[in-house]
Symmetry: C2
Subunit: 359 residues, 2 copies
């Protein structure tokens, strides 16, 4: 019996330079009498009128800055939800403006405005029961695919795991390549490489099919162009990276990520390492799983003059590494995709501990 994934899409997509200027017109029919729109904005922009000035704020709307210097947590989502509910009662919608963390925060907050309890209760697969409020994603970094995914990855009290559900995808995304033009180059690299790693993990995984492969190959080609071939970064690089992020996100929507993500989640849970940089630190050491991808990646590091933290696990107490291993091994679908159905025999705690020791 076949069991192919039935992928819920983002409702609407607008793509193009300057498309942020259409946001007002897009939000307008979704405003319910008097209920405001809350713009959840990466705090990086709190002194950047060039971006804030583009948001179509009307009377009653509110900008909330989200602190995304750490990976988003379930506590942060619950607190934002409470703050919004206390201030407004109900809202017409949530617009997330930022990178992958802000996208995930916006999705999670929108869901938690209609689902009872704590967001930690919904970490897992298909636990969300009610559609959230209307939610819009406006990425200012490209690579994570969070703009198209059916998850919102959160660090909770006992694990780092997404709210994976058919209610999680945005109702609308606005993909304006001009918004990623001013990202700090290192940040752009770490976020963009997430897409590259998605493609490698999706294309080499056992879950791959013609759909995920087509999207994965498309995104991989775009990543190779922008990170290995382009002589300099320009507006077209922004466009291609933004498109790569979308295609890479679609690829993993129909397949799955692999070893890098499983390990990076463990690292992030214990050390709070940001997803993008954590992926890079892990992926660099995974030549035995992804030989070609890792080789090209090392070239990208040199080309973009990226220095990664090294040996971060060396001084860690044994219990902490053990916890990384436990969190990481909890992500069965990722391991199964990477290593096949007998992954548990292949990826023992010892082997994984040794892999973490290299990071």
């Amino acid at each position: 019996m076949s069991n192919h994934r039935n992928v819920k899409s983002v409702g609407r997509v607008v793509f193009g330079r300057g498309s942020i200027r259409q946001l007002g017109e897009i939000l307008s029919p979704n405003r319910r009498d008097g209920a405001p729109i809350v713009f959840l904005v990466d705090h990086f922009f709190d002194d950047k009128p060039s971006v804030l000035g583009l948001l179509p704020i009307v009377e009653g709307d509110r900008i909330l800055f989200a602190d995304v210097s750490h990976e988003p947590t379930t506590a942060q989502v619950d607190a934002l939800r409470d703050r919004i509910r206390d201030a407004f009662g109900s809202v017409s919608g949530i617009v997330g403006v930022g990178g992958g963390s802000t996208m995930d925060l916006a999705k999670a907050v929108a869901l938690m405005l209609t689902n009872p309890g704590s967001s930690a209760d919904y970490q897992g697969w298909d636990l969300v029961r009610e559609p959230g409020v209307y939610k819009v994603g406006v990425p200012t970094l490209a690579g994570t695919g969070a703009e198209v995914s059916r998850t919102a990855v959160l660090t909770g009290p006992t694990r780092k795991l997404g709210l994976n559900s058919d209610f999680t995808p945005f109702d609308q995304i606005v993909l304006d390549p001009d918004l990623i033009a001013d990202a700090p180059p290192a940040q752009r690299f770490f976020t963009g490489i997430d897409c590259y790693i998605h493609c490698i993990e999706s294309l080499t995984g056992t879950d791959a099919n013609a759909f995920s492969r087509t999207f994965g190959e498309t995104a991989l080609r775009l990543c190779q162009e922008v990170f290995l071939e382009d002589a300099r970064w320009d507006g077209e690089s922004d466009e291609r990276l933004m498109m790569a992020s979308y295609a890479g996100g679609m690829s993993i929507a129909l397949s799955q990520v692999g070893v890098t993500h499983a390990m990076s989640y463990g690292l992030g849970f214990v050390l709070g390492t940001r997803h993008g940089i954590g992926n890079c630190m892990v992926f660099k050491e995974l030549e035995e799983f992804y030989p070609d991808g890792v080789r090209a990646f090392r070239e990208m590091l040199v080309r973009h003059r990226i220095e990664l933290p090294r040996r971060v696990t060396r001084e860690l107490p044994v219990e902490q590494v053990d916890r990384m291993v436990t969190v990481s091994l909890g992500l069965a679908p990722l391991w199964r995709n990477a290593l096949g159905p007998d992954w548990e025999r292949q990826m023992t705690r010892e082997r994984l501990r040794a892999l973490f020791a290299r990071v």
Copy 2:
């Protein structure tokens, strides 16, 4: 001021061989108490239990065979709507099973079950006011992109034009490459080439952006593989053509088709020529607009031993050719995409008449 298209997506996509077997499970939560599902099936299958046997019919459901030996008409849509309404009052949904014509019929019938009047009233852009009933597309041919488009192309009393609206896309599509495996090779070619032409017209058009280009290049590559490179047609060709159709459809969703489609619509309106073969007859003569694309296409014709009707307009009365020209020139967005904002100066009635004379 930017004005990028805000594209409404198909709600859910399942892709993979044998995914048709998941249709029962997919329909189940969408069944409203007692109201049946109507399966609108290409009459080609009326003696093909191999396909009919896969449809998850439950008590009360009905299969209606759609005669798609001609391009779908507004009269046919209205008649199907009346027949369904008389028989059932209301339905839980419409499932279209067939090629592009059946996809378009299913979308149009689903819309006309909730919108008053004749489907001819809605030919145009954004005239549909109410969401239709739940609608599912199950393609058995690949290439038209009708499974992802926001249109349902119909021949009406005065023109051939789609019901273009945000309510038109399917709620769900089931992309099972095994379903296209048994298509007659010539039919498969004519339908598949529609995708190839979409890509050429999208990639060379003035509406192209990074999004449409990425999807267009992806689909073009897949079409070139299956129609020019593959030594023989196999299950992987089915997968790639099905994926190409999806990507090609996405490409034109964010851009537009061009000269071939504008002319093929005129041809279809007057002579009833099927869309796929009409496109081929026209495209073959359009080297001045699409030199590389046409050259490769002629190679595909030879390789697949396809003979096209020739000089079909030669014996036509002047008024009929005039009508072709009028219907064709009515499709302003297509001409604008192909030739730019001054298309009207470039494409005079005389020039277009001369182009039709070659077909």
